[in-house]
Each structure stands twice: as C-alpha cells, then as structure tokens.
C-alpha cells in the first residue's frame, strides 16, 4: 500500500473522532511541552552559572589567614592575621603562579554629596584586577605606585557608581569612605551576580595600603587577611596550592605536626561543583518531564487499542479485499505516529511560549536550543512507534473471517 494514500487515510481516521484525537494529542502536547520548558530552564541555569564562572576569573584560589595558638586551639580573628604582604610577594615568585593579590575587604559606608551607599570595599594590588578579569569601563586603574604611596584613589563597580552618582560621570569626582576623601579614577565593567547571588558590581576597589591605613585600620601594617592567587591552568591548581602550603609553612616556621595557620579555598573548584549541581538539576528536570511524555505515549497506546477494537470490522473488510498484514500494521502505526507528531508540534509551540513567558515575567535565564526541539521530535516519533506498535500488530494479526463477523 502506498504511503501517500495511507497518510490520507490516517488523516481521515484522525478526523473521524476529533475530540478523542485531540485529547490523545493533549497527552503528547503536555509531555513535549514539559520537556521543552524543563530543558529551557535547565540549560538556562547552566548557562547562567557558566556565565557567572566566566566573570569570576579562572583558576583562582584564596589563602585566608587563620590564627592558631601553639596548642592548636583556634583563637578566632582576635589573634590577628597571620599572613602579610611579604608572603604574597614570596608566593608570586613560585612557578605556575600568574597573579597574586593580597586583599582586605569589608562593607563600608560611602558618601557623595547628599548620597549615601554601603558597598564592599576591597583594598588590593593591581594584579587583583587581572586575576578577577575585571575590565575598566571608563577612566583608568591604579598602579603599583599608588599602592606604594597609599594614594586615595578608587575604582567603582557599576552598581556603586549608579547608586552614588546617578547619571553623573563619577570619574574625577571626590567621594568619602569613612570620612576620608577618595578620587574616583575609574569605573569597572559590569560582572553581574556571583554564585552566591551577590552583586559583584556593588564594590569599590582601592589600593591595599590606603585601605589598611584609612579604612580598616589594621593593627600590624603589612599583615593581610586574604591573598588571592591565580594559577597558570586548571591542571596546575593542586600543585600550586601544595607549593603555597609548603612555602607558607616554611616562612611561618611551623614545625612538623603543628597545624597550618592559614586556610586555602579553591574558588574554581567551588564554581565547578556549582556547575555540576546545575547540570544534575537540568538532567533531573528533563527526566521528570520525560515521564509526562511517557504518560502521553501510554495515552496513545490506550486510544489505539480502543480504536483497533472499534474498527475490527473495518479491518476485516480491508483484509477481505486484499490488505496484507503489513498494510494494516502500517495504517495503524501511521495513525499513532501522526497523532504523536501533531502533539509534538503543538507541544513544541506551547513549550516555547511558556518558556518565553517565564523569561519575560520572572527574568529567569532560559536557553532554547535547536537540539532540544530535535530531541523532543525524535522522542515523539519513537513514542508513537513504540506505543503504536502493539495495537497496530494486534490489528494486523486479526483473522479476516473473525474480524468480518465482529459487530
């Protein structure tokens, strides 16, 4: 039997009981729609995390000062930082280290004219900008000489600039941090949120020395709470961290058996695990959505079985005038696949619509990929064939005489 004639017949059969066809299709529509929406959200989440990771800077770890007494009892921050700028300089000499930035940060109140704004103030050295992959949107960055002579200059993050200066251009203006006047010499490019959901643009970057003297008031000049280190590559991360550990133990004269007086945190690894989490979530969402596709498929099978029973006599007549088993099989299979395909098409449209609506109303990042649509289509065809197969085979195996006698 010819495919074209069969397609026409399948179309007629679908039209013969429109409500039923529509309801059967609805199962597929919801299934495919769910898959499309879930994939859009899942891939969107992955994309967002990837995006955030790429704004963080790559292959980063931080060394945090800890304070331990000789007995190993942790005395908290009261003991004073155990790291200092010289440690940072020594780390910078190590092989495989690209950037080192001793850093001191804390939230402080900023004032410009009548505007107040509390921002994360970061005192650091120029390599920090490179390690974190910060760009300068306008103005210029400060240099090593600014750190040496503790100049009162500041780089503003986009959020801070907007909240403090509004539409004004901040570059060249003077603002105050803790009563101390600072000249804004540049505005940073935007980074958006970090993995913890904090706005990375809500920041002010100033020279480390200035921060210590004027803003944070460190008791021991030159000591720092944190040193940010950028390794050459992801592969050399662990080796570099080990090297930093032995270097610092040596510099701090820690005997064997004495615990480290510092911690290390691999920022890139944390980001990786976050990415892994979203990947898993995205797979989970897809799997849950696939279940509704499965249910849609079972709906098709159910209706096709009813249809075969109802049309037993028709099958008998077709057989009597020369339909072979494969003709009947193809006919019913084609009907199942057509319902499944039509449902898939509508589901695709529905899914896209809902995904776009979610994006429009909640601002959630969604990613719509052609491959997701293709996967949904392939699955729909498979579902149609898989669940259409049994009823179709049942039809094809009917005995012509029995089928003709069926009332």
């Amino acid at each position: 039997m010819m495919l074209k004639a069969m397609l026409g017949e399948a179309w007629l059969a679908m039209g013969a009981n429109r409500l039923r066809t529509a309801l059967t299709m609805l199962g597929m529509v919801i299934g495919v729609g769910a898959v499309v929406i879930m994939m859009a959200i899942g891939q969107g989440a992955q994309y967002a995390v990837q995006q955030t990771i790429s704004t963080m800077g790559s292959n980063l770890f931080i060394v945090l000062s800890g304070s331990f007494t000789a007995a190993g009892v942790r005395s908290g921050s009261a003991g004073g930082p155990t790291l200092n700028v010289a440690d940072g300089e020594a780390i910078a000499e190590l092989e495989g280290v690209v950037n080192v930035a001793p850093t001191h940060q804390g939230r402080r109140q900023l004032v410009y004219g009548s505007q107040n704004w509390s921002a994360n103030v970061v005192g650091t050295t120029p390599p920090y900008l490179e390690a974190r992959a910060w760009t300068i949107a306008s103005g210029a960055a400060f240099g090593d000489s600014d750190v040496r002579s503790a100049t009162r200059v500041a780089l503003l993050g986009k959020t801070t600039a907007q909240n403090l200066f509004g539409d004004e251009d901040p570059v060249g203006k003077t603002m105050r941090i803790q009563q101390n006047p600072f000249i804004v010499i540049g505005v940073l490019g935007s980074k958006g949120q970090n993995l913890d959901g904090n706005d990375q643009d809500d920041t002010v970057i100033i020279p480390l020395s200035t921060a210590q003297r004027k803003v944070f008031g460190t008791p021991f000049l030159g000591s720092v709470r944190m040193i940010m280190v950028q390794a050459e590559s992801a592969d050399s991360m662990q080796r570099t961290m080990d090297n930093v550990t032995s270097l610092l133990r040596q510099r701090h004269r820690l005997r064997e058996g004495v615990p480290d007086d510092f911690f290390m945190r691999n920022l890139s690894a944390a980001a990786e695990s976050e990415a892994e989490t979203t990947r898993t979530m995205s797979i989970l969402l897809g799997a849950i959505a696939s279940i509704s596709l499965l249910v849609g498929g079972i709906g098709i099978m159910n209706i096709m079985l009813v249809s075969v029973t109802e049309r037993t006599r028709e099958i008998g007549i077709r057989m009597a005038i020369g339909a072979r088993q494969k003709d009947i099989l193809t006919q019913f299979l084609l009907e199942a696949v057509m319902i499944s395909f039509a449902g898939c098409l509508l589901g695709l449209v529905l899914g896209l619509g809902v995904a776009l609506a979610i994006n429009a109303f909640t601002g959630m990042v969604i990613v719509i990929s052609g491959s997701a649509a293709l996967v949904a289509f392939a699955v729909a065809a498979t579902v149609g064939i898989f669940f259409g197969w049994y009823p179709a085979r049942k039809a094809a195996r009917l005995d012509p005489i029995e089928a003709l006698r069926y009332q």
């Binding site: 039997m1 010819m2 074209k4 007549i317 057989m319 005038i321 020369g322 072979r324 012509p400 003709l404």
Partner: protein, 233 residues
C-alpha cells in the same frame, strides 16, 4: 479442455468449539470451469459459507487441497492469500461491507490502493466500475446515502475493480427485496456473459435459476450437482 478456475479435492474444515472439533465441511470435491455460473444451495448450517470463505481465500482448510487458477492455495500464508483476494478474485458479501466513512468512489478504489496503483489509475478504474453498475453519478456520496441494492452494486463494482476472472458471492441478495434481488442477479448474469466466472450462494430457488449450474450442500457434503433445467434465455 481448459484448466478449471477452481478445483477442490477432498476439502474439509473443522471448527474448534467448546464441545470439541466440529466438522462443518467433510471432504468436498468440485471443479469450476472458466465462464461458469454456479449457484450453491442448501439448508442453513450445511456449510455453504464455510465453503465460500475457503474459495475466497478468507480462511484455510483443515484438510484437502484447493487449486485456484492452477496453484494450490491450501497451505499458503496469510499475505499470499491477501494478494490472491486482491487480484485473482472478487468477493461480494451479504452485508455489502462498504466502509461507511469513505465515498463510493474511494470504496471501489480501495483494492487498488492495496495493489499499489497510482491515484489517477485508481480514480479512473473506480469511475469505470461505478458507471458499469450504473452508479457513476453517486461517486462522491457516502454509502449511507444510497439504498441497499445500490450498496450491493457498489460492492460488486469494488469486487470487479482489479479485473478478476472470478466473482464469489455469499447470499448477495439475502438482505434485499425480491425486485432488487432480480436486478442484482441480472448484473451477475451480465458479468458472466462477459466471461467472468460467478459462484454464489442463495437460499432462494428463483435466484438460483439465474445460474446455469446448481450445487446443493447438506451437512458438509455436496449432495447434488446439476445444470439448471429451465435456464433463462
């Protein structure tokens, strides 16, 4: 002598029933030559339909052989039988058996769909056959819009559409009034005059007189086989 269209040797058919095997046909022998017109008669339950279903390749015998146009079909598989039903013979049922949702033309063309003819060929052949049975002008109607007699004509047109040399009919006039029955029998007679072999089952002696040979069944056997005495002109 020409080869018989149908040659049946010791044909038997038993049905499996709750009470065990039931022999509906007990070793039937029959030969049908090209161009014959045969009426099969006999009381209810004598095995006529069973026999026709075997002749029509709708069912397979439990014993004996059936040669259709020279080839033994008794042991053919389902698909091979389907091809024979499609090309070699046409079957007409008591209950017409048209597909209710298809136009008369599509109903008549359906066997051609299964033999793989293209759309234009199907349309032309279906038209020709509908014209032949005098229903060309209803080509686009649904079966429910025409009378029983007309439906049976459509069924005959469908049986003829693949140009078989053999038409089988199981009580084709069983659902029709006597006037309409006459018309249908006249149609069969015409087809027979054109050279088509016709074998049909009927209960009514009047109907049987249209045939030139009458075969009588009783209890799964053929009990008489003779030419019609007063054959119509």
């Amino acid at each position: 002598m020409t080869e018989p269209v149908i040659r049946v040797v010791g044909l038997g058919k038993s049905y499996e029933t709750a009470a065990g095997l039931f022999p509906a046909l007990k070793g039937v022998d029959l030969e049908v030559r090209p161009g014959e017109f045969i009426a099969i008669m006999g009381p209810s339950g004598s095995g006529k339909s069973t026999f026709m279903n075997l002749l029509g390749c709708l069912d397979t015998p439990t014993s004996g052989d059936y040669f259709l146009a020279g080839q033994n079909v008794a042991h053919m598989d389902k698909d091979a039988l389907a091809v024979l039903r499609n090309r070699t013979l046409g079957f007409v049922f008591q209950g017409f058996n048209l597909l209710p949702r298809m136009s008369l033309q599509d109903n008549v063309a359906l066997p051609l769909v299964y033999s793989g003819a293209d759309k234009e060929t199907r349309r032309a052949a279906a038209r020709e056959m509908l014209d032949k049975v005098g229903l060309g002008k209803y080509a686009d109607s649904l079966p429910s819009r025409i009378s029983g007699g007309q439906q049976q004509r459509v069924a005959i047109a469908r049986a003829l559409v693949n140009k078989p040399h053999l038409i089988l009919a199981d009580e084709p006039t069983g659902n029709l009034d006597s006037h309409t029955s006459e018309e249908i029998m006249t149609l069969f007679s015409e087809l027979n005059r054109e050279g088509i072999t016709v074998v049909l089952v009927t209960h009514e002696p009047d109907i049987a007189t249209h045939a030139r040979r009458q075969v009588r069944f009783l209890d799964g056997h053929i009990v008489s086989d003779h030419l019609t005495e007063a054959a119509p002109a």
